[in-house]
């Protein structure tokens, strides 16, 4: 076995002296992960940067207007709700209060300005992603029924996620206001039907119905984010995994397969270059030589995974999860990459063929497995299809681990991936042994 290890270490040394190979193994996954992570927004690490929102609430009288956002407004949401309803609050103040609610503080930074021009100027200057303009007299118009009213969203066309959130929040406020108006109208009609004919009597009834609707609506959460999370047993199952971890895991797995195929191809390279036949003339059994080659594939990919995880830890502050599931997932990940690589190399006759076959197969596996969308489970048919590949199972397991899952939580994916590894490796070994018998 010492000779097998000598062969493996020689191959690992050669691989880590090969700058293009290193770029593929280590630099490419990190760079692509950064690029993909940036696509989600943010220039610090991989987190989604808060969207800057500017609000021109012209509807609320100046004395009642909330100060600049954030904490101050969010500190008293209940009071704001009451202000906007029972105490004659405006639609504008309801919009401000919704945008500055506690649940959105990580996503939105809200600033209030006095005029519509100030708001649009800030968007034009790139200082804000979206401006919300609540026109003067909107509440009064709605109450009198003279006008339908209109809230304007003025958005930076290059931004999508932040303005989308703001739009959803404003739509929700409008829906509540419309609902309150409808409740008031319905109460008035019911009063008329019951014989109440004096406007002085109908008005308070309608107002009371509208207030009641708003209070009930306000009692529900202001904004809910539909987050999908796997079931984990750990206590901190609500742990936020961020963007960096899932994206880097996807890239790491994809490039582990590519690196494995690169190293496994050295079997064919050495055969073509004459070093493998020369090895066969030494007093080293062929099984030991092949074992050495296979070990080198596994070791190289294992080192690659460890380096990438350490880089992720220090560069992107990724919390990979518990040591036990990390260790097991890294080992089975390296194993399945090595197994598949050996299997695919055994199907090829030349190094050129091997490169084409492995690149194509691993790209398809990555697309089907979901490597390019991180660890998130997209659900639907794709969520099922991805589990045809070891990539999908690995991503599923890593997602669980990133969220604090234990070794027991990833047992099934680990077993499935190990099965993939064993099956492909045994087939590859059998073909190679037959070829070099």
């Amino acid at each position: 076995m010492r000779k097998a290890l000598d062969i493996a270490l020689k191959d690992v040394k050669r691989t880590f002296r090969d700058l293009p190979a290193l770029a593929t193994m280590l630099a490419a996954p990190l760079v692509i992960a950064v690029v993909l992570g940036s696509a989600f927004g943010g220039d610090k690490g991989f987190s989604i940067a808060p969207t800057k929102v500017v609000v021109a609430d012209l509807d609320t009288p100046a004395t009642a207007a909330a100060p600049d956002s954030g904490a101050a407004a969010a500190a008293a949401p209940t009071q704001a709700t009451e202000d906007s309803t029972a105490n004659g609050g405006s639609v504008g103040s309801a919009v401000v209060q919704a945008l500055t609610s506690e649940g959105l503080q990580a996503l939105l930074v809200v600033k209030q300005v006095d005029t519509q021009k100030q708001a649009t100027d800030q968007v034009d200057a790139g200082e804000a992603a979206v401006a919300v303009i609540v026109p003067a007299g909107l509440t009064a118009g709605l109450q009198s029924g003279d006008t339908a009213g209109e809230i304007t969203l003025y958005r930076d066309p290059t931004k999508t996620i932040g303005p989308g959130i703001v739009n959803a929040v404003v739509q929700r406020v409008i829906a509540r206001v419309n609902g309150a108006a409808a409740a008031g109208g319905a109460a008035a009609q019911l009063a008329v039907a019951d014989g109440v004919t004096k406007p002085a009597d109908i008005g308070p009834l309608a107002s009371q119905a509208a207030q009641s609707y708003l209070q009930q609506a306000q009692a529900r959460p202001a904004m809910a984010v539909d987050a999908r999370e796997p079931k984990v047993s750990a206590a901190d199952k609500t742990k936020d995994v961020g963007v960096a971890g899932p994206v880097l895991v996807g890239m790491m797995i994809f490039f582990m397969f590519l690196a494995a195929s690169n190293v496994a191809r050295s079997i064919l390279d050495e055969d073509a270059n004459g070093t493998l036949p020369r090895l066969f003339t030494t007093p080293t059994p062929r099984g030991v030589i092949l074992a050495g080659k296979f070990t080198s594939v596994f070791l190289t990919v294992l080192i690659q995974a460890v380096v990438l995880m350490v880089a992720g830890k220090f560069l992107f502050h990724i919390d990979w999860g518990g040591l036990a599931p990390i260790t097991v997932l890294t080992l089975v990940g390296a194993g399945v990459a090595a197994g598949f690589a050996v299997f695919l190399m055994s199907l090829a006759r030349t190094p050129g063929q091997a490169g084409a076959i492995s690149s194509g197969v691993f790209l398809v596996m990555a697309l089907a497995g979901g490597n390019f969308i991180g660890t998130a489970n997209p659900g639907g048919i794709f969520g099922t299809v991805r589990l045809i590949t070891p990539n999908g199972w690995l991503l599923k397991a890593w997602d669980t681990t990133l969220r604090g899952g234990s070794l027991g939580d990833v047992a099934l994916p680990v077993v499935v991936v190990a099965g993939f590894a064993l099956l492909t490796f045994l087939i590859g070994v059998a073909v190679f042994r037959r070829r070099f018998a």
């Binding site: 010492r2 000779k3 000598d6 020689k10 040394k13 050669r14 002296r17 090969d18 270059n273 004459g274 070093t275 036949p277 020369r278 090895l279 066969f280 003339t281 030494t282 007093p283 080293t284 059994p285």
Partner: protein, 314 residues
């Protein structure tokens, strides 16, 4: 039993219709001998060495190396053997020392013993000062020397060298040939394949000439030359009347045959030193002007030509 014994060796690729690369080949090599397989490309030399190195299985026959059967005990054969393949079989991205150390490990060397042998071999191939340089920075001749050195680390009792001087400069070739002689003087038995008759002639105790997988002649250089006669070939160019010249020279004492070949007269003569002056005298007398002359003493090329009708380098 001879140190290397080959009996009726046969190798056919993809039987039953594939190429027969080695056909009923038998020879033996004494311990301490340099034995050359000489033949053109495709003669079966490399296939023979591959079989004797346990790299290919024969489809017939048997061979032993250092008393061990290549089919029955290949591990013992490999322990006794050092193989220098025709193509460079090294790792260009490793240094000379790393390459030698790796191949030494494959022959079971470890620790201090390995370090010592690597130092010795580096000195032997005269590359001690370049040991830390990667092979990709070496010249062709230097790489060839490392290629040979990698087969010497375990002090093999028998060394197979498959055309080790192909494609290198004359100076490096000279160094390699001298090195092989030194190894042989140190007791290493050597099987050497080449298509350069000069190398076979210079190095070998005995030579086997191969063509189309068969051995067509075997013996010492002198024996082989004698087997086709000891006549020299004299080639003469004349300004005119080639047919008349041939007829005249046919009757000159010492000329055994004369024929036209490529507008020149090709004569086989017993003793070129004695006959050539007579040829000139006759030509002067008959008014024939000789415009060119070449004298070739009998050699392995002559032998190959006589046995196959083709030149060795065809």
């Amino acid at each position: 039993m001879r140190f290397v014994e080959v009996r009726r060796l046969h190798k056919q690729f993809d039987p039953p219709k594939g190429t027969v690369a080695v056909d009923d080949l038998s020879f033996g090599i004494e311990q301490g001998e340099i034995y050359s397989l000489l033949g053109p490309n495709g003669a079966g030399k490399t296939t023979t060495i591959s079989i004797l190195s346990c790299l290919l299985r024969p489809t017939g026959g048997e061979a032993t190396v250092a008393g061990a059967s290549i089919t029955g005990d290949p591990a013992a054969v490999k322990r006794a053997l050092g193989v220098v393949p025709q193509e460079l079989a090294l790792y260009p991205d490793l240094t000379a020392r790393e390459n030698l150390a790796f191949w030494g490990k494959m022959y079971g060397l470890r620790g201090q013993q390995l370090d010592t042998r690597v130092d010795e071999v580096l000195a032997l191939i005269d590359l001690s000062d370049r040991q830390k340089d990667r092979l990709e920075s070496f010249s062709g001749g230097m790489k060839r020397r490392v290629n040979i050195g990698a087969a010497l680390l375990h002090k093999p009792r028998v060394l197979f060298l498959d055309e080790p001087t192909v494609g290198i400069d004359p100076q490096s070739r000279r160094a390699i040939l001298d090195g092989i002689k030194d190894l042989n003087r140190a007791g290493t038995t050597i099987l050497y394949t080449t298509h350069y008759m000069e190398e076979a002639q210079e190095l070998s105790n005995r030579i086997a000439i191969m063509d189309h997988g068969k051995m067509i002649a075997e013996g010492t250089h002198e024996e082989l030359v004698r087997s086709v006669g000891e006549e020299a070939t004299v080639t003469l160019s004349v300004d005119r009347d080639l047919d008349r010249s041939l007829a005249i020279w046919c009757s000159v004492e010492g000329v055994t045959s004369a024929e036209a070949q490529d507008d020149r007269a090709r004569l086989l003569v017993g003793d070129a030193n004695a006959v050539v002056p007579r040829l000139f005298e006759t030509a002067n007398r008959e008014g024939i002007r000789i415009t060119g002359v070449n004298v070739a003493e009998p050699n392995l090329e002559t032998v190959f030509l006589a046995l196959t009708g083709r030149a060795l380098r065809d």
